[in-house]
Amino acid sequence: MSVEDNVVLKASNVYGEYIISPSTSIKAVNNVSIELRKNEIIGIAGESGCGKSTLIKILYGYISYPLTAKGKILLNNKGNNIDVLSVSEDYKRENIWWRIVSYIPQNSMNVLNPFMRIGDHFSELLRKHLKIEKDEAYKMAEEYIVNMGMRKDILKAFPHQLSGGMRQRIVVALALLLKPHIVFADEPTTAVDVVLQKVLLQFLIDKQRELRNALTIVTHDMGVHAMVTQRIVVMYAGRVVEEAPTEPLFEDPKHPYTQALISSLPRLGDESPRKGLWGTPPDLRNPPPGCEFHPRCPYAMDICRREEPVFTKYENEWKVRCWLYLKR
């Protein structure tokens, strides 16, 4: 199956399961298909536990026990298509990871090696992937850091000597070091104060504009999506429920879940009390029959309890998976 030119990653029918015991497993990702495009910022939205973090780990190709994955994930590398799930981890380590795709993990504050200086974090990547010597790598790292707008002597510091915000920026800088085509950011602004959030997001956007990569931001914070993304994929209980360009989606969300997510955001001038969504996400070991959102849906119909809905496609690349919109 070939992939169009501006699509950098095409995932079809991806499943991700955590095997807890021989009899129980958690279907964290359930038949998700998604496309990442060149020079586009896409957001994946949804509550904690909806499977978005697991999804991007699988798209990245990092499958570690007890996670298992299946499906087709095609990476478009200069015309060649690489199936992320079928190549070995060694291959990914040598050729794909950090060079074509990179990752900004959750909890960025604690992902740096406390026993290594910042400079070493950069130089070890440069030495490995560009096969250069220590001195040259260090010099490159210095130039790079300065280009990123940070001071050179940060390289000599240990992670614990830097502030949380600084460490966050380092992690972003590390992700962009080898100029990858695709960048995954997993909750980059959670656990960070609002002021720093803005700085960080601005940093991410500026760099994306400069390097023209495909940036995927995973977060439950709809405010971030509104501010930064061009297209949003909304997930619930491991499945995609809606996908649309950002502005139109915010103006007129179709899926009841998306409506609830967006209406929980405060708006300037709107003084009505915010309505939260009652209930809790379903137990993924034993999901409810039919549409997995029906227990919490204010518009649930009889058919919702019995049958799983399929996608309705609109123009403008809008997809919704809800019985409300399915013409019978």
Partner: protein
């Protein structure tokens, strides 16, 4: 205040208190020996075939009386003993009268220190490295088997293992010799002599060293290293390193091994007492010319000066070494302490 200063003060206080308690227990021993025993001791010296002329006899009697003594007020006695304890001056040895006990002990000391340093460094390093490597092994059978071996080795004291080794390799399959080793007169007149001496040292030390290293490395350090490694492998910064595509070898070394070194240094500091104690008995069993064998001789004969010298030296030495590991080395090895904000 720099967090390390607090730690340093704490560890120094521990050292002081330890030495204080150890010293007082030692003082109790002295108090427990009745002065009538002094004459018995002098008799023992005579029995060992030492010829005492009357002057030396009186001098020795004086020293012993003062050592176990009732000369001077209680406070005087306490302070004098304090001085003896820290200068390791407990008078003349019985075995090799009239040489001072300290001189004899210092002659045997290098052998013990050598053995201890060698075995401790090797087993700590080896155990840690093997533990990390095995924690990366995916094959459950191999890692499980090694873990089982380690669990069997762990609770066995060095010297019991030594006895087993002696039985197998000295009796059944003669590799080591059963007869006691003689301490060579170390006179290095030529390169050949040096080689000979080194070879002899290695040969003598191989058996006790082997006992200690096998139990320490494959028992103690392997188990703790593997447990720590498995825990470290799930840490965020290790997972992030894998995501960045860093080579597994580098992750093993620069991430996991480097990270477990800090708690393992602390663990080593705490284990030093046990390592030393075990080595002491092992030395005696293999008739290795170190403090262990000397101590046995001293105890059997009742040579209190030598026994006290060795015991005080042990207490001070181990306590100091523990302090050193817990402060100096710990400081150097943990950048979070050394370069604190």
């Amino acid at each position: 205040m720099h967090p390390f200063v607090k730690h340093l003060v704490n560890r120094t206080m521990v050292m002081v208190i330890t030495l204080f308690i150890a010293f007082n227990i030692s003082y109790l021993l002295i108090r427990a020996i009745p002065t009538s025993a002094v004459d018995a001791m002098l008799g023992a010296i005579a029995q060992l075939g030492q010829r005492l002329d009357p002057e030396e006899y009186m001098r020795m009697r004086q020293v012993l009386l003062e050592l176990f003594g009732l000369s001077g007020s209680p406070l005087d006695q306490y302070l004098t003993y304090l001085k003896r304890f820290f200068t390791l001056d407990f008078g003349f040895s019985f075995i090799v009268f009239p040489r001072p006990a300290r001189e004899i002990v210092l002659r045997y000391l290098p052998w013990s220190v050598g053995l201890l340093l060698f075995t401790t460094v090797i087993s700590w390093t080896l155990g840690n490295i093997i533990g990390v490597i095995v924690s990366f092994v995916k094959n459950r059978y191999i890692s499980g088997a090694l873990e089982n071996i380690a669990i069997v080795l762990y609770p066995i004291p060095y010297y019991v293992f030594s006895l087993a080794l002696i039985y197998i390799f000295a009796y059944l399959i003669p590799i080591f010799s059963l007869s006691p080793a003689t301490m060579p007169a170390i006179s290095i007149a030529s390169l050949w002599d040096l080689i000979n001496v080194v070879f002899h040292i290695l040969k003598t030390a191989s058996a006790p060293a082997l006992s200690i290293i096998v139990i320490s490395a494959l028992g103690w350090w392997f188990i703790s290293s593997r447990t720590l490694s498995l825990a470290t492998m799930t840490e965020d910064y290790v997972i992030y390193a894998r995501l960045r595509g860093i080579d597994i070898g580098r992750i093993r070394g620069r991430y996991v091994l480097r990270s477990i070194m800090v708690p393992q240094v602390t663990a080593l500091a705490l284990a030093l007492g046990a390592v030393f104690s075990g080595a002491l008995v092992t030395e005696y069993i293999f008739a290795y010319p170190g403090l262990g064998s000397l101590l046995y001789q001293a105890i059997i004969i009742g040579d209190y000066p030598i026994a006290l010298t060795i015991l005080s030296l042990s207490m001070i030495g181990v306590t100091l070494a523990t302090w050193f590991l817990d402060t100096v080395v710990y400081y150097l090895i943990d950048p979070r302490i050394r370069f604190a904000k």
